[in-house]
Symmetry: C2
Subunit: 382 residues, 2 copies
C-alpha cells in the first residue's frame, strides 16, 4: 500500500463518479480506455507487419504503462536516459534498450551495475573510445554487455556518420572481449514530425534504402545483425514497408499530442491513435474582457511545440495561451460567455514527452471517474 500523500491532493476522489470534473488542478489526466486502445492498436499493427515493438518509455516514464505494453506483446522498452532504465528495471521490466550513448565514467559505472541484474539490457555505442570503455567496464564486472551500434540516419544527433564508421564499429563490437554485438539502431528523429504523410514516407523509405544496403553488406561480411531498431510514432507504419527494421521504437502513440495528431491525420480518414493525455486546469480569474486566466502555465505544459488545444470545459473556438509559470490565458471566441471562476477545462498537450516530465503523477480516468493515480516513476531521472 502506497502512502496516500504520494498520491497527491486528489487521492480522496478515486472511485467517485464525476470526479474528473472536481480535481485539484493543474492535473495530468490519462483516458485509460484510449490508452488501452492505443497500446492494442500498435501491438496489432506490429504483429500484422511482422515487426517487433520495443516502445520508447521516455514518453511515459511509467513502469505500469511499460508493463501494459509488454503484456500486449512488446519486447521490452526503450529508454533515452540510464535513469529511466534503472527505474524500469527496478520495477521488473525486462528487455530494456538505452537509445543514447553512455560515455562518462559515472554513467558507465551505473550502466555496468544495472547490467549485473537487468535481463536483456542493451545500449547504443557510436564511437570507438566509448566502445573500448564499455568493453573494459563489462570485462571488469564479469558480465557481457549487449550493444547496438548507432547510425546517425540524416538526423545527426548521435550515431556513426557514415558506413565506414558503422562497419568499423560493428566489427570492433564483434571483436570486443566483453561486448555482445546485438545489431544496429538508426533513428530518423528529423522525419517524425514532417507534417505531410507522403513526404514523410518518401524520406523515411529513402533513408531505409540506404540503411538496408549497409545492413546487407554487414551481413555479407559474415556479421550477424539480429536487431535493426528505429522508427517513431510519425513513421511507425511507413518504415516497415522497407523491411529493414526488426523492431520499432515508437513511444508517443500511447498518448498522442497536438503535434503528432496533426501529422498522423494527414492522408487518412481517421488517425490510428487517440488522444489519451490531457492537462486539467481551473479558471482562477475572470476580470478581463475576452479571456479568463487558468492555473496551468509553462510549468504544466511543454513549450517547445505548438500551443495546448482546448478539449473540454470551454466554449467551442476557445484558445489556450501561456501566461507565465503557473497560468494560461483561455481566449474566448467573440460573443462567448465567460466560464465562471473555478470551471475546469481540459487541454490536449502540445508535446507529450516533455509535458509528462513536468508532472509527478497520472490521474487515470474511465469516463468521468478518477479510477487510480500512478506516479510518473522516472520523471527527471537521468
Amino acid at each position: 500500500m502506497r502512502p496516500m500523500t504520494s498520491l497527491g491532493p486528489n487521492a480522496a476522489l478515486i472511485g467517485q463518479p464525476g470526479s474528473r470534473h472536481a480535481l485539484d488542478t493543474p492535473a495530468l489526466l490519462v483516458d485509460v480506455d484510449a490508452l488501452e486502445r492505443n497500446i492494442a492498436a500498435m501491438a496489432a499493427f506490429a504483429r500484422a507487419a511482422g515487426v517487433g515493438l520495443r516502445p520508447h518509455a521516455k514518453t511515459h516514464k511509467s513502469a505500469r504503462i511499460a508493463a501494459l505494453q509488454v503484456a500486449a506483446g512488446a519486447l521490452g522498452a526503450c529508454c533515452v536516459t540510464l535513469g529511466e532504465a534503472e527505474v524500469l528495471a527496478q520495477a521488473g521490466i525486462a528487455g530494456l534498450h538505452i537509445t543514447s550513448p553512455q560515455v562518462t565514467p559515472s554513467k558507465i559505472a551505473r550502466l555496468t551495475a544495472l547490467n549485473a541484474t537487468a535481463s536483456g539490457l542493451s545500449v547504443v555505442v557510436d564511437h570507438p573510445d566509448n566502445l573500448a570503455a564499455l568493453d573494459r567496464a563489462a570485462a571488469a564486472a564479469g558480465k557481457p554487455l549487449a550493444v547496438l551500434v548507432d547510425f546517425s540516419a540524416g538526423h545527426g544527433r548521435t550515431g556513426c556518420a557514415d558506413e565506414a564508421a558503422l562497419m568499423a564499429l560493428a566489427r570492433a563490437a564483434v571483436a570486443a572481449e566483453a561486448l555482445v554485438f546485438r545489431g544496429i539502431q538508426s533513428y530518423s528523429g528529423n522525419l517524425q514530425h514532417v507534417p505531410v504523410r507522403a513526404e514523410r514516407r518518401a524520406r523515411a523509405l529513402a533513408e531505409l534504402d540506404r540503411l538496408g544496403a549497409m545492413v546487407r553488406r554487414l551481413r555479407d561480411r559474415g556479421v550477424e545483425v539480429p536487431i535493426v531498431s528505429g522508427a517513431g510514432t510519425g513513421t511507425f507504419d511507413l518504415d516497415p514497408e522497407a523491411r529493414v527494421f526488426t523492431e520499432l521504437q515508437a513511444g508517443s502513440y500511447v498518448f498522442m499530442d497536438v503535434d503528432y495528431l496533426r501529422a498522423l491525420r494527414d492522408g487518412r480518414n481517421v488517425p490510428p491513435f487517440e488522444t489519451a493525455l490531457f492537462v486539467a486546469t481551473s479558471v482562477v480569474s475572470v476580470n478581463q474582457p475576452g479571456y479568463v486566466t487558468c492555473d496551468a502555465g509553462l510549468k504544466s505544459f511543454a513549450t517547445d511545440g505548438p500551443l495546448p488545444e482546448v478539449a473540454a470545459g470551454a466554449p467551442p473556438g476557445s484558445r489556450y495561451e501561456f501566461f507565465g509559470d503557473e497560468h494560461g490565458r483561455l481566449v474566448l471566441p467573440p460573443g462567448a460567455s465567460k466560464p465562471p471562476l473555478g470551471t475546469q477545462v481540459e487541454c490536449m498537450t502540445p508535446h507529450c514527452d516533455p509535458t509528462v516530465n513536468l508532472h509527478d503523477r497520472y490521474h487515470l480516468m474511465r469516463g468521468d471517474t478518477l479510477v487510480d493515480i500512478w506516479p510518473v516513476d522516472a520523471r527527471g531521472k537521468r
Copy 2:
C-alpha cells in the same frame, strides 16, 4: 540524515576538490558564493531603499534558499502555488504570501488547513465570489485569513481590472467576518523583461503613479493599507523610486538567467546580480562536423525563453541549441577543435524558474568543489 539515494548519483563527490568537473550529468549547479552575494546585495538594496522584501520562492522552490533570504532580512517568501507554500511552511518558513488566487473547493480546503498552522500567511483575492468563499471557509475553520486584494496592473493575468473593483473588494475584505485585509498586490509581469532600462523605468513609474493614487484614495476613505506588494527582478530598483510598494516580490535575482542578465545589463556598467545557476552537461557524441552532441535537452532547460548560453568547458564562441528531449547541440565556432567525448560543459539557463522546476536537486559549488546537494523541495507542487 537524509538517505544517500535522495542525493542522486553525485552524492559520493561531495567535498572532493575538482568534483565540479566530474559530475554525473545533466546536473543543476548553484555557485553558492554568487548566490550568497546576490541574496546580500538585494537585502542591502531593500534596507537602503527603506522597502521590505518578500522574495518570490517560485524561482528556487527551496526551503533552504528561502531560509537564507529570511536570515538576510526578508519578511518571508512569496509563493505562486499553494503547494509551494505548504512545502515552505512545513520547513518552518513564516510570512508566506500566495500571489495567485485560490478558488476551487479543493484549494480553499487546503488553504484553510495551511492557515491553521502557518504563521503570517496571506493570499490574494481578486473576485467577490472568491472573497465570500474564503470568508466562509475561514469562519468555519475558526481562524482569520489574511488577504491582499490583487490589482491587474496592465498585466491582466489576475487582479481587479479597475479602481472601482479594487475599492469594492478592499471594502468587502475589511467588512468580511473571517478575513483580515492586509493590503494590495500589484504585479507588472509585463514589464519585468522589457529589455531597455529607461523604457522599463518609465512604464513602471507610470503604473505606480496610478497605483499610488488608488492606494491614497483607499487610505483617504479610512481603509488601512499596511502592505502594497509587487515588483520583480526587472524593476526591483526602479519601483521603489515611486514610494508606493512597501515590499518587493523579486525572485529571479538569486540565480539570474540569460534573459534577466540582458535586461539588467542595459544602462549599467555592472549588473547588480551574478549568474549563480548553471546546467552541467557532457559531450556524448562527436561524429559530426561543426558540432558535438551533449546530454542536456528540453527536459533540462526551459524552452520558453532564449537559448542557454555556454559559460564554461567549450571553445569561446560556442553556441548551445536544443536537440530533442535529452540532447543539445554544441555548435562550435569555425576552426575550433572538438571537445572530446565526455567533456563537461556548463550553460547559463535561459529562464531560471521553469528550468529549476525540471530538476530534482541543486548541486552546490564553492569554486570547483561540490559542497552539498539540496532538494528542489517544491518541484512540481501545485
